[in-house]
C-alpha cells in the first residue's frame, strides 16, 4: 500500500522534511522507492523561476542524447546542478549514473510566444526526450517545467535520502511545496516512471489506492491528449483527469471531484445544478474512478488539494500551523514535522469533500 504526503509552506522547505514525513509511516509502505516533486523553488533555483528546469536520471550517453536534442531545439543552459551523492557501500538504492537538474533559457524564436505556446513546446520537448532515451533505458525524463524539480529512485527511502544527502537540511535545495511518496509500483513492473507523484504541465498528482476503472480511464485518456501516455501505474489516470478537467476543459477545480467520484443519481436529482452534474457524469463516465483511494493534487498556481474515493476506503489527514500545511496518509507523519500544532484543528476529510489550500495557505473545505 502507498503512503503519500505533501508539505506546503510560507517558507522554503528542504526535502528532509518530506523524508521525515514519510519515514514515520514506513510500516504502511514497503520501502521500495522514493519520489518527490518540488514546486515554487528556493535556494539556487530561486532566481530562475521563469525558466524551465529539466529533471532527468540517465546514463552518460543519455546526457549526450538529451543535450543534443535541447541544443538543436535552441535551448541554452543557464544553470546546472547535480546532487552530491554519497555512494557508501550497503545502501539499498538502484541508482542511475547521473541525476541532472538543468535550467534552460527558451529558444530565441519562442521568447515572444504566448504562455500556452511555451507550455505546449515544453511538453513536446519532454516527450521527445523521453522517446529518445527509451532505448536501452538511457534515461528517464520526469519533468521539464519552470520552477519544478522531480526526483524518483528505486530503493529504500532512507538510503535514497542518504545517497542524495537529503537528510541534512540546507538553504540551497528548497521549495515551498513538496509532494512525496515512498513506494515503487508493486502492482505492475518496477519502472521508474511508475512512481508517483506524476507531473504534467504544471499539474502534479499522487495517490494512495487502487483504480479499478484503470482500463476504462486509460482507454479513454489515450485519445484525449498527447501527454497522456505511459500508464505504467493506474494512478497516472488521476493526474491526466486533473489536467484534462482543469486545463483542457478549463473547469473550476471542484468539478474534478464530480468527475472522479460522481454523486449517486438519486443525489444528483435533488440538486439545483443537476443538469450540469448529469452532463458531466454522462460525458465523462469513463473518467470515473472506483476502488479505494486518496488523491493529493497540485495545480500550476501552487493550489494544493486532497480528496478521497466515494466510500472513504482510504485515509488522509491535514494538519497545519501558521506557516505550514501538511497532508499525509497517516497522522504520525504530521506529528513528526509539526509536533507543536493544535491537533484539534486537524482535518479528516469525508468521502464527499475536497480540501483545498490556496497559495495564501488558506484552507477551504468544499462539499461535493
Amino acid at each position: 500500500m502507498c503512503r503519500i504526503g505533501a508539505i506546503k509552506s510560507r517558507n522554503y522547505t528542504h526535502p528532509s522534511s518530506a523524508l521525515q514525513l514519510m519515514q514515520s509511516q514506513q510500516k504502511g509502505h514497503d520501502n521500495s522507492g522514493f519520489a518527490m516533486v518540488m514546486q515554487d523553488l528556493g535556494g539556487i533555483f530561486a532566481e530562475y523561476k521563469h525558466l524551465p528546469t529539466l529533471s532527468m536520471a540517465c546514463t552518460d550517453e543519455g546526457i549526450r542524447i538529451a543535450e543534443d536534442i535541447l541544443h538543436e531545439a535552441g535551448f541554452l543552459r543557464v544553470l546546472q546542478w547535480a546532487p552530491e551523492v554519497d555512494d557508501q557501500p550497503g545502501l539499498d538504492i538502484n541508482a542511475m549514473p547521473n541525476y541532472v537538474f538543468e535550467t534552460f533559457s527558451y529558444p530565441r524564436h519562442m521568447r515572444n510566444a504566448s504562455q500556452r505556446e511555451k507550455e505546449d513546446m515544453l511538453l513536446d520537448t519532454r516527450l521527445r526526450l523521453r522517446t529518445a532515451l527509451e532505448d536501452d533505458e538511457q534515461g528517464f525524463v520526469y519533468s521539464f517545467w519552470p520552477d519544478v524539480i522531480t526526483l524518483k529512485e528505486i530503493g529504500d527511502p532512507r538510503d535514497i535520502g542518504t545517497y542524495f544527502n537529503l537528510w541534512e537540511a540546507d538553504e540551497r535545495f528548497t521549495a515551498k511545496v513538496i509532494t512525496a511518496q515512498c513506494r515503487q509500483n508493486t502492482n505492475y513492473d518496477i519502472v521508474r516512471y511508475a512512481a508517483h507523484p506524476f507531473f504534467l504541465q504544471g499539474y502534479t498528482a499522487l495517490a494512495n489506492g487502487e483504480n479499478t476503472f484503470y482500463l476504462k480511464n486509460k482507454e479513454f485518456q489515450q485519445g484525449l491528449h498527447r501527454g497522456y501516455l505511459g500508464f505504467e501505474s493506474d494512478s497516472q489516470c488521476f493526474l491526466y483527469t486533473l489536467h484534462y478537467i482543469h486545463r483542457e476543459l478549463g473547469w473550476p477545480l471542484h468539478y474534478y471531484k464530480h468527475v472522479v467520484t460522481p454523486l449517486p443519481f438519486d443525489d444528483i436529482e435533488q440538486r439545483d445544478d443537476k443538469k450540469q452534474l448529469l452532463a458531466i457524469r454522462q460525458s465523462l463516465a469513463h473518467l470515473e474512478i472506483n476502488g479505494p483511494n486518496t488523491i493529493i493534487g497540485l495545480l500550476p498556481d501552487n493550489t494544493m488539494f486532497t480528496c478521497c474515493d466515494a466510500k472513504k476506503l482510504r485515509p488522509v489527514v491535514i494538519g497545519r500551523d501558521e506557516e505550514t500545511v501538511v497532508i499525509s496518509s497517516e497522522v504520525c507523519g504530521i506529528n513528526e514535522i509539526l509536533p507543536d500544532r493544535d491537533w484539534e484543528t486537524d482535518i479528516y476529510p469525508n468521502e464527499r469533500e475536497v480540501v483545498m489550500i490556496n497559495d495564501d495557505l488558506e484552507v477551504q473545505r468544499w462539499k461535493q
Binding site: 479499478t212 443538469k275 450540469q276 460525458s283 466510500k311
Partner: protein, 547 residues
C-alpha cells in the same frame, strides 16, 4: 384396413410422437380439450381379441370398440411438443416424445411447396455459448477490497440518449465558479440496464402485453427500479398513450409504421413524454427481413390499433425513402426529435452483422448528434414469426460484434457517446444478470430481452424445437395468441408478478457481481474483469486467457 402409401405422412415423420397409455387413461378428455394445435384427437379403435377357452385350441374372436387418444398424421395439426397434454392429464397417461428420426423439414416442404414458417428462436444448437466460457475473474481483495452487496449503495443505471463529447458540452463558468450551460443538449434518460425488448401488441396476446406493461409500471412505481419497456412495432393502446405510464414506454417504429397513426393522433393528448423512440431497422432473429404477423393473429383489436384489414402483415425489409435508407432513417430521426420537441431520445435497432461496425461508425461520426442509442440484436434473439430458414441460418452472434463496436468507439475516443445496448439470446440459460453483466464489461451500456420475459410468464418453448409456434396464433400458454379462449389461459397479474420477482432477483444478482470486483457503478467496458478458459474466445474479445 387403411391402405398406406410410401409417401403418406406417418407419426414417425413428425417432430414429436405422442405417447399414450390407454391403460392409465380415464377418458376425461382434458388433453384433447387443451391441445391448441389439435395435434391429438379422440378416436375409437377397433380391437380384435383372439382367445381360446378349454383344453384344446378352439380360437374364438371378440371385437370391441375402444375410445383412445390418437395423433393425426398431418403436417398441419402436428404436435409441437408443448406438453400441455401431459400437464393436464391427471394420470400421466400421455406425453409428447421428441422424435429424433423426424422427416418434418423435408416432408413439409415437399407437401406444401412453401417455406416453413414458425416463431420462437434459432434451433440449431452448436457448442457451448460464448458467454458461458467467460467468468468474472478479477476479484478485489486486500488493498482493493470487495464491496458489500448488501450494505453498499450501487448505481445500476444506463444512459439512453446521445452523449456529447466533453469538449462539446456548452458550459461556461460564472462568477461563483459554477458551470452554467447555455444551450440545449440532446436528451438522455438514465434507466435500468435491462430493457424489456420490443414485442408488439399483436405478436403478444393483449393479456400478455398488459402483463408486461403492468410489471413495468410496478417495478417503477413500487420497487423504484426504472425499467423501460419497448412497445414493439404495432402501436400502443390509446389509454396508455394518454396516461402517466407512457413515461415508462419506449415507442418503436419499424418499416411497416404499424400503429403510428394512432400514436401521432394521441400526441396532443399525451401528459408525459415517452421514455424514448426506437427505430427498428432489423432484428437479430431474422436479419434482413421485415416483421411478420400472420393473418390468423390479426384479430379485431389488432386491426383497430394498426388500422389494417385481416391479412398477413409484412413490414418491408427496408425503410422506404426516395433516395436511400439512410435518407429515410435520418428523416425519421429528425422528425421524431422535432415531434417531441427534442425532449425524447431517439435510438436505432439493427441486427448484428458482419457490417455492424461500419454502421456504428457512420452513426457515431455523425456531427449532428442525432442517434441516441445503438441497439444491436444477435442471432439468438426470438421472434413471433419468421421463415425457418432465416431463423436457423441467418444472423450473427452478439458477443464479438458488441465488443467490436465498443472497441471501434475506443479507437476513436468516442466510447459512451452512442450508448450500446445488446441482445440476442441473453438469459438463455435463465441467468440474465450474469449474461448482462458480462456484456456490460465487454462494452455494452445495457441489454434488452424479450424471449426470457415470455418464459417468465410461462412460455414453454425452447431452443431444441419445443413449441416455437408463436406464428400460429395457437400459443398454448396464451402468450402469443389472439384467440380469447387461449389468451384467457394466461393470468396477467400472475405473469406480471413473475416478471417483477425476476427483476428483483436479478437486481440482487447484479450487486453480487459488482461487489466482488469492487465497483459501485456499472463497469462498462471493464474487460479486465473478465477471463476466459478458451484461448480463441479470449483472443477474439481481448480478455485474459486463463487455464
Amino acid at each position: 384396413m387403411e391402405t398406406m402409401k410410401l409417401n403418406d405422412v406417418t407419426a414417425n415423420d413428425l417432430p414429436w410422437k405422442v405417447r399414450y397409455d390407454a391403460s392409465r387413461c380415464t377418458l376425461c378428455g382434458s388433453c384433447v380439450a387443451t391441445c391448441s394445435f389439435r395435434a391429438i384427437e379422440a378416436k375409437v379403435e377397433r380391437r380384435r381379441m383372439v382367445f381360446s377357452e378349454g383344453n384344446f385350441p378352439e380360437p374364438k374372436q371378440r371385437f370391441s370398440a375402444v375410445p383412445v387418444i390418437r395423433q393425426p398424421k398431418s403436417i398441419r395439426n402436428y404436435c409441437r411438443g408443448c406438453g400441455m397434454c401431459e400437464k393436464v392429464c391427471p394420470n400421466d397417461a400421455i406425453r409428447p416424445d421428441r422424435n429424433p428420426d423426424t422427416r418434418h423439414p423435408i416432408v413439409t416442404r415437399c407437401l406444401g411447396g412453401d417455406s416453413i414458417k414458425r416463431g420462437g428462436r434459432k434451433n440449431l444448437e452448436g457448442s457451448t455459448r460464448t458467454l458461458d466460457k467467460i467468468r468474472v475473474g478479477r476479484i478485489s481483495q486486500m488493498t482493493d477490497p470487495s464491496l458489500d452487496a448488501q450494505r453498499h449503495t450501487f448505481d445500476l443505471l444506463a444512459p439512453f440518449g446521445r452523449i456529447l463529447p466533453p469538449k462539446k458540452l456548452p458550459f461556461a463558468t460564472d462568477i461563483n465558479q459554477q458551470l452554467q450551460s447555455n444551450e440545449t443538449t440532446p436528451p438522455v434518460n438514465w434507466i435500468y440496464p435491462v430493457i424489456i425488448g420490443d414485442m408488439s401488441i399483436g405478436a403478444l396476446s393483449w393479456r400478455m402485453w398488459e402483463a408486461v406493461a403492468m410489471a413495468t409500471a410496478y417495478l417503477n412505481e413500487e420497487c423504484g427500479i426504472p425499467v423501460r419497456m419497448c412497445s414493439g412495432e404495432g402501436g400502443v393502446p390509446v389509454r396508455l398513450l394518454k396516461s402517466k405510464y407512457l413515461k415508462y414506454m419506449i415507442l418503436q417504429i419499424a418499416s411497416g409504421h404499424f400503429g403510428w397513426n394512432r400514436i401521432a393522433k394521441a400526441m396532443p393528448h399525451m401528459i408525459e413524454d415517452p421514455a424514448g423512440i426506437l427505430i427498428k431497422i432489423g432484428q437479430g432473429a431474422k436479419p434482413g427481413d421485415g416483421g411478420l404477423l400472420m393473418a390468423q393473429k390479426v384479430a379485431e383489436h389488432i386491426q383497430a390499433i394498426r388500422g389494417v384489414p385481416k391479412a398477413d402483415l409484412l413490414s418491408p425489409p427496408n425503410h422506404q425513402g426516395l433516395y436511400s435508407i439512410e435518407e429515410s432513417v435520418q428523416k425519421m430521426f429528425l422528425s421524431f426529435n422535432a415531434a417531441f420537441k427534442f425532449r425524447v431520445p431517439v435510438a436505432i435497432k439493427v441486427a448484428a452483422s458482419a457490417t455492424s461496425v461500419s454502421v456504428f461508425n457512420n452513426l457515431v461520426r455523425d456531427p449532428y448528434n442525432i442517434v441516441g442509442g445503438f441497439f444491436l440484436d444477435g442471432i439468438d434473439g426470438g421472434t413471433g414469426a419468421a421463415h425457418e430458414v432465416s431463423l436457423d441460418h441467418t444472423g450473427h452472434p452478439i458477443v464479438s460484434k458488441l465488443r467490436d463496436c465498443y472497441l471501434a468507439a475506443v479507437t476513436q475516443g468516442r466510447q459512451g457517446q452512442i450508448p450500446l445496448w445488446a441482445a440476442g439470446g441473453l438469459g438463455k440459460t435463465g441467468d440474465l444478470a450474469a449474461d448482462a453483466f458480462k456484456m456490460i464489461a465487454l462494452g455494452a451500456n445495457g441489454v434488452f430481452t424479450g424471449k426470457l420475459i415470455l418464459q417468465m410468464a410461462g412460455c414453454i418453448g425452447n431452443d431444441l424445437g419445443r413449441c416455437n409456434a408463436c406464428n400460429t396464433g395457437l400459443c398454448p400458454a396464451g402468450i402469443t395468441t389472439q384467440e380469447p379462449q387461449l389468451a384467457h389461459r394466461l393470468d396477467p397479474e400472475r405473469a406480471a408478478q413473475n416478471i417483477v420477482n425476476y427483476f428483483l432477483a436479478m437486481d440482487t444478482e447484479f450487486k453480487k457481481l459488482m461487489a466482488p470486483i469492487g465497483n459501485s457503478s456499472l463497469p462498462v467496458g471493464r474487460s479486465d474483469a473478465l477471463v476466459s478458459t478458451d484461448q480463441s474466445v479470449a483472443d477474439r474479445l481481448q480478455i485474459q486467457h486463463v487455464c
